[in-house]
């Protein structure tokens, strides 16, 4: 996917006063630009394209840094989300953004400098707390990097702080901006992985696994610390062997000693996503599994199926390397116990475990 996937830029009134807007427009020279009133374009979440070929530049009025909205019913990793934009050009069939975002288009928040200033004030005020921060919750962290060049901007700011780890999570190979930067410290480059079957059928616009892992190898060889996320794990015919194929690729390309963490998360979604997936992706297989309503109201696989998934992945990942910082995403204490053989007990426990990994890798 080249920069050419953006067919049009729309700007909210006043967006042009920000340097960041001007930089983006420079990278998109020749693309038509129009101005738009705040909230001017309405869409329902079922609209088929979600305006993924339109880039909308606007100042963000909310908080840039927010804790990940975990629930008390399951153990959360205590992550902080740096919200720099919403929506994503990749359009995975299972993407929860389809039901979260009732505003169309790829949205980039151009008052970034003001926002980051507040974020760093908050971080610097608490030097003893480790902030694990990610930008990949409401978008893919690197999908738009060739246009926004955000990584270049963020790396120096995060690298110089001692109490942070910035995680950039992606399914792309858009690492040129990162590799061009001289900063490596306090940055985790993570790839979302799945089975080759799921990558082919449900992540059609993302890079294939071989390319993702080759990009990861390149970054590792250039000094970056890596993370991986098997999330969402999806049950499908032959899933056990299919996931092993991905593990084989990891073994082929990656040195496990440079992996700070690997998360395992079984597919989960709000019930409202189901009709959207049916409508937008009628050939998707992600709804085939035995979904039940979880304690948080989200649909998730019936527990023994999740246990089977996690157990299989854990067993085989640990054959690869014994210290991978494996953890479960949004799972209950009993599922932890029965698949990992231990449990952090609660969100604070998992946070401590991951913070410890940060200290081990970055000091």
């Amino acid at each position: 996917m080249s920069k050419g996937f953006i067919k049009k830029v729309t700007m909210e009134e006043g967006a042009l006063q920000y340097d960041f807007s001007r930089k983006i427009l420079k990278n998109l020279r020749g693309t038509p630009v129009t101005e738009r009133q705040p909230g001017g374009e309405k869409t329902g979440p079922n609209d088929s394209t979600m305006g993924k070929d339109i880039l909308h530049l606007l100042p963000y009025k909310g908080e840039f840094l927010k804790p990940c909205p975990g629930t008390t019913d399951y153990i959360c990793c205590g992550y902080q989300i740096l919200n720099l934009g919403t929506n994503c050009p990749l359009d995975c069939t299972y993407c929860i953004l389809q039901s979260y975002i009732n505003q169309p288009n790829l949205r980039v928040f151009v008052n970034l400098d003001v926002g980051l200033k507040q974020v760093f004030q908050q971080i610097d005020k608490q030097p003893d707390k480790i902030f694990r921060i990610g930008t990949g919750e409401f978008t893919d962290s690197l999908a738009m990097d060739p246009i926004t060049r955000l990584s270049e901007h963020l790396l120096p700011l995060f690298s110089r702080r001692r109490n942070v780890a910035l995680e950039l999570k992606t399914k792309t190979t858009r690492v040129e901006g990162l590799l061009a930067s001289k900063y490596r410290d306090r940055v985790v480059l993570s790839w979302s992985l799945n089975s080759p079957y799921i990558a082919r059928h449900e992540e059609k616009m993302a890079e294939n696994l071989d390319k993702r892992l080759k990009a990861a190898r390149r970054c590792q060889s250039e000094g970056f610390i890596l993370g991986f996320h098997f999330d969402p794990l999806i049950h499908h015919p032959g899933w056990k062997d299919e996931y092993l194929k991905t593990l084989d690729l990891m073994d082929k390309y990656i040195d496990p000693k440079g992996v700070i963490w690997i998360s395992l998360g079984s597919i989960r979604f709000m019930p409202g996503l189901k009709p959207i997936i049916r409508k937008r992706h009628p050939n998707s297989r992600v709804l085939d599994g035995e979904f039940v309503t979880g304690l948080d109201g989200k649909m998730r696989y019936f527990k023994p199926i999740r246990i089977d998934q996690f157990g299989h992945l854990r067993e085989n990942l640990e054959k690869w390397h014994s210290s991978l910082g494996l953890y479960l995403c949004m799972e209950s204490d009993d599922v932890w116990e029965s698949t990992m053989g231990w449990s952090p007990g609660e969100t604070a426990g998992l946070s401590r475990y991951l913070d410890k990994r940060v200290v081990e890798f970055f000091g």
Binding site: G294, P304, I307, D308
Partner: protein, 329 residues
């Protein structure tokens, strides 16, 4: 447009033989009950005379008051005072708006009628106007997706299904699901809904199961619907409707959630095997999602409670209680 400037109607008594009493181009009534209106006319007479347009031929078309005229005819009344507009004085859009506002002032449109209003509007005004001006009037958000959905509802759904929807016997969500499956399949599903007299919750569940199971089996909905599975249950001898509904949903659930149903059955077998005292009940959490099981003891007094607890703690095999699958670690 300011209707008031053009609306100079005259009022006189019109014989019903001169009125074209088909629903006509401005009618927005569907699936209504005539009885309350008949009673109201019997009690207090016609409070608000129908509004008609006189055509060049001398006959009349109803702009507003279709239901009133139907009710009067039912009461065997042959003529009634009406307000009359001349065809040359008002446009089609103005007539439409007169009807719309006449209705909005007195009642809430049902979902089918909303579809009719939006569908008629497509030939009269721009889509932008429909979204921003008329959808809020109908209590709908100005979303194009909603707009197209209502158009499909009006154009594609069969009359019987629309009647169910208009009368509140089917939810909008179910209508949406029915629209997603093809016409033939839809009619077959609707036949099932009608034959078993399913309530709104069951209707949704049934369609969900049918779509999910067809997807899982990788067969078209029509192929799944043609399986003997359905006819066998519908024709089960000695079963009344609620029993057939129960049997159908159990069978569908087994197909949709084989692991869960197996676990539930195993758990229940384990509990039965324990032979707990009367008034002592052990239940699993919904879907076994929470780690905690529940014990309930019915007792009349402390002595009875003590006795039941004593028997319970002595019970052999209580250890089998728990998740009815093999834990991994």
């Amino acid at each position: 447009m300011n209707i008031e400037n053009d609306l100079t109607s005259i009022q006189y008594t019109v014989d019903f033989v001169d009125i074209d009493d088909s629903p006509g181009p401005f009618c927005m009534s569907f699936g209504f009950e005539l009885e309350p209106l008949i009673q109201s006319i019997q009690n207090v007479g016609m409070v608000n005379p129908p509004l008609l347009i006189q055509k060049k031929s001398g006959t009349y078309t109803i702009i507003a008051g279709y239901r009133r005229i139907r009710a009067l005819k039912f009461l065997d009344i042959k003529k009634t005072p009406c307000r009359i507009l001349s065809e040359s004085r008002v446009s089609e859009l103005e007539c439409f708006r007169l009807n719309l506002h006449d209705n909005l002032a007195t009642r809430v449109f049902n979902e089918v009628e909303k579809g009719m209003v939006l569908s008629r509007l497509t030939s009269l005004v721009s889509q932008d106007q429909i979204l921003n001006r008329y959808m809020p009037l109908l209590g709908l958000p100005s979303h194009s997706e909603k707009f197209f959905f209502y158009l499909r509802l009006e154009k594609e759904l069969e009359k019987e299904i629309k009647i169910h929807l208009a009368q509140g016997r089917m939810s909008l969500q179910v209508a949406r699901l029915l629209l997603e499956i093809g016409r033939g399949d839809r009619n077959r599903v609707f036949e099932l809904i009608s034959a078993l007299n399913l309530n709104i919750n069951y209707q949704k569940q049934l369609i969900d199961y049918i779509i999910d199971i067809s997807n899982i089996k990788r067969i078209p909905v029509s192929t799944f619907l043609a399986e003997n599975f359905f006819s066998d249950i519908l024709q089960k001898e000695g079963f009344n409707k609620p029993q057939k509904v129960k049997a159908l949903f159990h069978s569908l659930r087994v197909l949709r959630f084989p692991t869960l149903v197996r676990a539930e059955e195993n758990f229940s077998k384990n509990v039965t095997r324990l032979g707990l005292t009367k008034g002592v009940k052990v239940s699993a959490p919904p879907y076994f999602e929470s780690p905690h099981f529940r014990l309930e003891i019915l007792f009349r007094n402390g002595t009875e409670l003590k006795e039941k607890l004593r028997i319970l703690t002595k019970k052999e095999g209580l250890e089998v209680l728990g998740n009815p699958w093999k834990e991994r670690v």
